[in-house]
């Protein structure tokens, strides 16, 4: 029996395809796994953000802050006589410094004079 070169080439190509397929399916599986993990992580993070928000608001409730401020601070609520009648709405503009915008991850170029 003569084994033709073409058959050998085809066989080799089939093997290569098989190997490639396996490699890709491997990658896909891996990616799916990590995607699932990331989604679960995101859900958990979202949940804890909501929980922390609620906790933050509870800790910042005015009634609680008032008690704490009375206990630990020498500050008092501002009285009317402490407020000035006429305060300009905005401070005079400060001269804005010339800053070259720099893209993140890019080496800042020397500023040309």
């Amino acid at each position: 029996m003569k084994i033709r070169v073409r058959s050998l080439v085809l066989l080799g190509a089939a093997c290569m395809c098989g190997g490639l397929l396996m490699h890709i399916s491997q990658r896909v599986q891996e990616s799916q796994e990590s995607l699932k993990r990331l989604h679960a992580q995101m859900d958990a993070e979202r949940e804890s953000i909501i929980m922390l928000q609620a906790e933050w608001e509870a800790l910042n409730a005015p009634s609680r802050l008032e008690v704490l401020a009375k206990k630990y601070l020498d500050l008092k609520p501002a009285e009317t006589r402490m407020l000035r009648a006429q305060i300009p709405d905005s401070a005079p503009p400060v001269e804005i410094m010339q800053v070259q915008p720099v893209a993140i991850g890019v080496e800042p170029k020397a500023v040309q004079p």
């Binding site: 029996m1 491997q26 993990r37 909501i50 928000q53 609620a54 009634s63 008032e66 009317t80 407020l83």
Partner: protein, 570 residues
Amino acid sequence: MTLAVAQVISLTGDRSSALYIARGRLVLIGALFALAFFLLAVRAVDVTVMQALPQTETAAPVPAVQGAPLVRRAAILDRNGVLLATSVKAASLYADPTLIADPKGAAHKIVQIFPDLRIQDIMRSLTAPGRFHWIKRHITPAQQAAVLRIGEPGLAFAEDYRRIYPQGALAGHLLGYTNVDGRGLAGFERAFDDTLAQGQDSVRLSLDTRLQHALRREIENTMRQFNAKAGIGTILDANTGEVLAGVSLPDYDPNHVARADKDAVFNRLSLGVYELGSIFKIFSTAALLDKMSDALSMEFDARQPIQHGRFSIKDYHPQNRALSVPEVFMYSSNIGSALMGQAVGTKRLRTFYERLGLLTPMTFESREIARPLVPSPWRDIDTLTAAYGHGLATTPLQTAAAVASIVNGGTLVRPTLLAGGSAYGQGERIVSAQTAAHMRSLLRLVVTDGTGAKADVPGYWIGGKTGTAEKAQGGAYNHDRLLSSFIGIFPAHAPRYVVLIAIDEPRGNAQSHFYATGGWVAAPAVGRVVAAMGAILGLPPQNSDALKDPAQSMRAYISANAATQGVHDE
């Protein structure tokens, strides 16, 4: 091997060719098998080595509660974005009795984790037929871990959302609450149940948490100071009708509604109706000013009590002379107001009240809205009493909105709990701009010269009106049981805020010379709320040089011999 044998035994002819073919086939089959085993080996390496990624330890996902809403209920924010209500995931503990190994031991351990449960109830759940019995809804992660440590396979968890209110009791009545399955049962939660259940991002309310706290604190302090039964208050934006704060004390923590008593759950602000007394003189006076352009110079004889059948209308603080309209208002003369009501006319006054929305249930983002108690039929005597706020009971919130509708320039606003409110000046015109300006000056006069002196805060032009109503009891008015109120507007020349405080059954004390009237009880409380608002909102005090105090324009109508010292009683 096959090849080696073929070389050793050399054959010729047909046989040799047959052997040759057989050998070729054997080689082919051998190669195929080798390939197959190679693939198996590769797959084995793949499964055991390559896919053996470090697995993060994750517990089996907790199943969702059967029938629980799949979407998270929308959060409720105040006007500045402070969280008022939100939903968080929470595990609930249930038992599958068929898997419980040691019911008694498990029950004892559960009671240690949840001291509020009774051991008999748990035992019943752990031994009952069926495979699903709730033990405790919405437990904390720490409690969940403790239950897991019991190690009983029959105890399992299901997950759903739990509503929490980070501000606690602060705005309990306006927010309302939900049941364990997340459906709104009261307040805004009930009125907007469908919208919230759809799970939009969040709903923004008109409330300001800081103002809400200041109002609640001052009402609470006043109630304590005067040993009162209840307190009601609201802060409205006079131009848009937005409810910036609303308080009904005693109140409850919506996180623990089951613990609240019935009295505390009752929303006095929108579900309670009260005869608010002299506050209604704002409406009758506005009706008169709107009817007659020269009304300010009219005089009313307040010397004699009015007798009408078995009724008699008397003044708390008789002036014993004819009073001009500003005097009637600043001394809060009932006789004068009754006569003014008569001058307006029964039909006109009733229509005026109706247009202000005082005779029908208001529209508001709540289901707890009371129908005002209106005399039916409305006789002439009812016009006289309604002119000074008796014989007609309304909810405090709708009364405050009606006052806002007059002082803001004369266009109707309706109270709303949603941020934004209605556009300024778009409502129906109630009184002319001229009348509105006069009313603002009159309200300011009450604070500078009249019964509301204790509400004054230097720097802020507060205007307002006191109200002291005897509570009806068994068909008669009880002199000892008062509803003392004050409605303030500020700044009086261009009101932005309307502040109402009403204190139910205050007891006079030594500091108030044993008065328990609106001027002594509610007016100082409103003054303190306004002072706090100034600091919270950063409102600059009025520069008195630049503008004239609105009360000035009314001084001309006050008789020269009028007592100018403070009038604190009505």
